[in-house]
Amino acid sequence: MSEHGVRIQLDRVTKQYPRQPEPAVDNVSLDIPAGELVVFVGPSGCGKTTTMKMINRLIEPTSGEITIGGENVLALEPNELRTRIGYVIQQIGLFPHMTVRDNIAVVPRLLGWDKARITRRVDELLELVGLDPSAFRDRLPKQLSGGQQQRVGVARALAADPPVMLMDEPFGATDPITRDKLQNEFLRLQKELRKTIIFVTHDFDEAVKLGDRIAVLAEQSHVAQYDTPGRILAAPANDYVEGFVGSAAAIKQLGLMHVGMLTGLAELSATSGLPTVRSRENARDALDIMLRAGTSHVVVLDEQGDPRGVIGFEDIAGLLREEVSRVGQDA
């Protein structure tokens, strides 16, 4: 039912505003593989949003080339281009005077879909983002909670099934609990849809959680490091990236490792009284459980809830060492 993502390439893209000494975005080249979620992370004002907005030409690049699926973006009519790129902004931007249905139907209407097709699509999308169509279709944005509005915003961006999505701090304005929930749902959704997504945030933890790759951007959108979260955590390219990763890089890295990945689980013996962890949870959760229970080991349960083995502090520390040395060899 849905179109998968396509590759996006930025080639020496520069944005120079008139009467400014320095370009806002200076000579950026990035290759974003099809179907991946790439996070642009960097401090406020580093040009990450500007870089993203050049892809749907809300901001026109001064020089350089951008292609989406091999097609030169600058050769396309901007409005036509934008109907093929999902766009989600931090303020969500739902039109307050339109129902949920009309909000989602904006791009399909621009594309001239017939009424029946729009109705079907709206319901399908509402279900996709976990909102009951019959309950939510005719509501106005002000009748929705922040999290629900954000879901509708995502549904609206997905309306015409674009291969590419641009998301500008979409979860930035939500409370931590809602944000965590939205992030998890969004990851589940992306697993299914495999769109090519560019996601802008200044929150490095969010980048680690969501990104297939992370582009750490410095002033003028200079790419300080462009790699997988695991490798950025294990081997930051320079002091700038290290500063951005912040403290507790190892702990953050544990968050990327599933307990189920641990090989050679110790034999089960005398496990009574030990805390348990599900195999799909990550090593960070496992460590947390151990620390809270005051034990040095934890029992790993499989999907059915049956014990599979035991892991301890040493296993987790070893896993981390292995990962670091593996990344070191690759680099």
Binding site: N56, L58, P78, N79, E80, L81, R82, T83, I85, Y87, I89, Q90, Q91, I92, G93, L94, F95, P96, H97, M98, V106, V107, L110, L140, P141, K142, R156, L166
Partner: protein, 254 residues
């Protein structure tokens, strides 16, 4: 570029529909009834009787409403497109110029303007209409500009990001969301038009000014009061209709 450069917009008063809204028309009808009873209870002298005969009063009221409503419609026809134009990016430099002109239009005494126009162009309904439009154009113009400018820019950006053209954004996003502010301006324009239409009498354009001026000149209090009360009733009545329109046309969800 903001509301500040344009001073503040005329107040938007959001209020919900309720039975209370009928108190205004009922009150106005009662005021007219009391006026009528009071005037008929008086022993009018021949001068008063001539000015206050039913036919003369009816014509003055009709002329007055006609003048005020025509002026308001003309203001809308001029100020709404002009206001929309001023919010387009290319017209930015024009905003202070046009606003200054409209401000002058409102600040200049209507009577003085009317006299000047009459000296240049003669007298009659059209001249009164022009003076009224000049005097009453500012509220609609300013509120159209402010109404569109106050639309949350993130909504405009979301619309652009989805591939909507400027004309479509204007029609589907900016104008619907500007409607409440624009209608508030319209109400102010109506009230100004009804009030200022009283000076139309000086260019022989009829209206309740005829009755008021006759009352002053001939020192006949009942005549003066009749003209004044009827003018106020028309102003409040049209303002009430404007308020009704505001409630009915306000987009849901705003």
């Amino acid at each position: 570029m903001s509301v500040k450069t344009l001073d503040t917009a005329y107040q938007v008063t959001p209020s919900r529909w309720s039975r209370r809204n009928l108190t205004v028309p009922i009150g106005l009808i009662a005021a007219v009834a009391v006026l009528w009873l009071w005037v008929s209870s008086l022993n009018l002298d021949s001068i008063e009787a001539r000015v206050l005969n039913a036919e003369a009063v009816r014509r003055a009221v009709v002329d007055h409403i006609l003048l005020a409503v025509s002026a308001t419609l003309l203001v809308v026809a001029i100020a709404v497109p002009l206001g929309i134009m001023l919010t387009r990016r290319w017209a930015k430099p024009l905003v202070p110029v046009v606003m200054a002109l409209a401000n002058i239009g409102q600040a200049v005494p209507a009577l003085g303007l009317l006299v000047l126009l009459a000296l240049w162009f003669g007298i009659g309904f059209k001249i009164a209409l022009i003076a009224l439009v000049v005097t009453a154009v500012l509220p609609v113009l300013r509120n159209t500009v402010v109404g569109i400018q106050q639309v949350d820019q993130s909504l405009v950006e979301a619309a652009r990001g989805m591939g909507m053209r400027a004309s479509r954004i204007l029609r589907l996003v900016e104008l619907p969301l500007a409607v409440p502010v624009m209608l508030a301006g319209l109400r102010t324009t109506i009230v100004i038009a009804v009030g200022v239409a009283t000076v139309a009498t000086f260019v022989n354009a009829g209206g309740l000014g005829d009755i008021i001026v006759a009352g002053i000149k001939l020192q006949r209090t009942p005549v003066l009061i009749t003209g004044g009360v009827l003018t106020a009733v028309i102003a409040l009545g049209l303002d009430w209709l404007g308020g009704l329109a505001e409630r009915l046309l306000r987009p849901k969800g705003v």
